[in-house]
């Protein structure tokens, strides 16, 4: 297969977007194209566009988003497809971009992930996200993503001794990292004592889905991110030779039961483990090769368990690693240097692309204020549903 790499990245400021969905997509796309030096009109080399989004049609009232983006950017007649895979839509779009180039169908692919979450009320948004649950067994009961995360967290607490404070430690770390990311939704230091002290915890950090509290889960954000992918054998010809080629070394994805109650081991995130193993195998790498990781911490318990399932720590030790500072910048396995979903924000379809934007910045040495010195290889885990569809991506400069 052909070598495929990333030569351009773009990212909007996550939070409440001042512009509509399509503008967000184009803003991120143009930043990525400018980063690489890609042109529009007659000088365009992009022959395929993938837009990953979960709810553009439902929430932003834009269907066929990729077609609209291609026209707006004046890169017709590029092929255009919109990809919907729940919150893993972004990583799925990257995987499809990789496959398109590796197979020879395309030479240069623009991948965009985007979501407008804040155009509707909180109740409507919660309902929209919950539509990915099992329709008869979960959704109709009023269950939501925080509900499933609450059920999952209690199981992990009972089995592995994870404490509420461990979730807060992860949250404080990610908020600290986000202070150095100008595109993060929340750039504010969070003090551990303030969100864990029993004397006032119900005021500063109220319960949302017992045992989960407000600081144990991500905010609701708008945003978009973009990557420009090119075949290694076309990089110089297309004028991108001046950019460091961040190679996509491995992609993997796997599924698990839709109905969460039917998982053989309810505390496992099997699709995380299988997708990571697939990506490691394709890359010819092991967890020891990973210098920096972006894990899908829509809920802080997920960062802990994912750090185990991808092989960084033994099962049941992820919370102990967080306590030791192993996952902080300067630790032996830095996780979510961008601020993660917790503080950078989680515009569903944008997240998978945003994670890889952060990894590219790390591997280029451009992650000012949060740089992992000498980082050469990064892993991203993008988690769809409540772990029923997960995508892993490994990028490297080796």
């Amino acid at each position: 297969m052909r070598e495929v790499g990333i030569v351009g990245v773009g990212h909007t400021k996550f939070g409440k977007s001042p512009v509509p969905f399509l503008d967000m997509c184009c803003q991120a796309a143009l930043e990525a194209m400018d980063d690489a030096g890609a042109k529009t009109g007659n000088k365009n080399h992009i022959d395929q566009v993938f837009v990953g989004t979960m709810g553009a049609g439902m929430v932003s009232r834009i269907s066929g988003a990729a077609s609209a983006v291609v026209d707006t950017l004046n890169i017709r007649p590029a092929m255009a497809e919109t990809v919907e895979n729940g919150p893993a839509s972004g990583a799925s779009a990257i995987k499809l971009g990789y496959m398109a180039i590796a197979s020879g169908v395309a030479n240069c692919v623009l991948v965009i992930g985007a979501e407008g979450m804040r155009a509707v009320t909180g109740w409507e948004g919660t309902d929209f996200v919950a539509t990915m649950l099992h329709p008869d067994g979960e959704y109709k009961y009023g269950l939501t993503l925080p509900s499933l995360a609450g059920l999952f967290t209690r199981l992990c607490m009972d089995k592995y001794g994870v404490e509420s404070k461990d979730l807060s430690i992860v949250s404080v770390k990610n908020h600290a990292n986000a202070c150095h990311n100008p595109n993060a939704h929340i750039q504010r230091t969070v003090v551990l004592e303030r969100i864990t002290n029993p004397a006032y915890i119900n005021a500063t950090n109220p319960l949302v889905a017992d045992p989960l509290r407000q600081f144990d889960m991500c905010p609701v954000s708008d945003g978009a991110a973009a990557l420009l992918l090119v075949a290694k054998d076309k990089q110089d010809e297309y004028g991108f030779g001046h950019k460091k080629f961040v190679r996509i070394a491995g992609v993997g994805s796997a599924t698990d039961t839709h109905y969460v109650a039917n998982r053989a081991v309810p505390t496992d995130l099997l699709a995380v483990r299988l997708s990571a193993q697939m990506a490691y195998k394709m890359a010819g790498m092991t967890p020891e090769d990973i210098d920096v990781a972006e894990l899908h911490d829509a809920f802080q318990i997920l960062e802990i368990v994912e750090s185990e399932e991808v092989g960084f720590f033994p099962r049941g030790d992820g919370h102990l690693a967080a306590r030791r500072g192993d996952t902080a910048i300067g630790g032996k396995k830095p996780i979510n240097t961008s601020g993660g979903l917790k503080a950078k924000g989680h515009p569903l379809g944008a997240t998978g692309v945003s994670q890889v934007v952060e990894l590219v910045k790390q591997l280029r040495g451009e992650a000012t204020g949060r740089q992992i010195e000498g980082a050469k290889t990064g892993l991203a885990i993008n988690f769809g549903g409540f772990g029923n569809n997960v995508c892993a991506t490994i990028v490297t400069t080796k």
Binding site: L151, L155, L212, P266
Partner: protein
């Protein structure tokens, strides 16, 4: 529907909940199921109390749990009481309205949805 069911594969006998189209036994390819009542005593495996409910609920919170019935079938549902909920406790299933309204294209309509509401045994 005021009765909840599990579904027994006519080929291998595996019990399922909720309803599937193909048997979930990896060594079976059955597509026909016998519908059997799913009710009675069950054990609470995990639970949560949720305060940010989706569109359509007017109550301040709801309790949810995952249970395992005596026949080994697991199910998710609402818990119908507030005090003394603990993982591992014995419950009994009842069936009631778990949602009053459903969202259809462009409108919300009254259409009661029935499902599990677990009570103290």
């Amino acid at each position: 529907m005021e009765q909840m069911y599990c579904y027994k594969c006519k080929k291998c006998g595996k019990l399922h909940h909720p309803r599937y189209i193909v048997c979930q036994n990896p060594d079976c390819d059955g597509r026909e199921f016998e519908q059997l009542p799913l009710e009675g005593k069950c054990k609470l495996l995990t639970w949560t109390r949720v305060y940010n409910l989706p569109e359509g609920y007017m109550c301040p919170w709801l309790n949810f749990g995952i249970v395992e019935f005596e026949n080994g079938v697991r199910a998710t549902g609402q818990i119908g009481f507030d005090d003394g909920i603990e993982s591992g406790m014995e419950l009994v299933s009842t069936v009631g309205v778990v949602k009053e309204k459903v969202i259809k294209y462009k409108e919300t309509v009254v259409e009661p949805q029935y499902g599990f509401i677990f009570q103290k045994a």
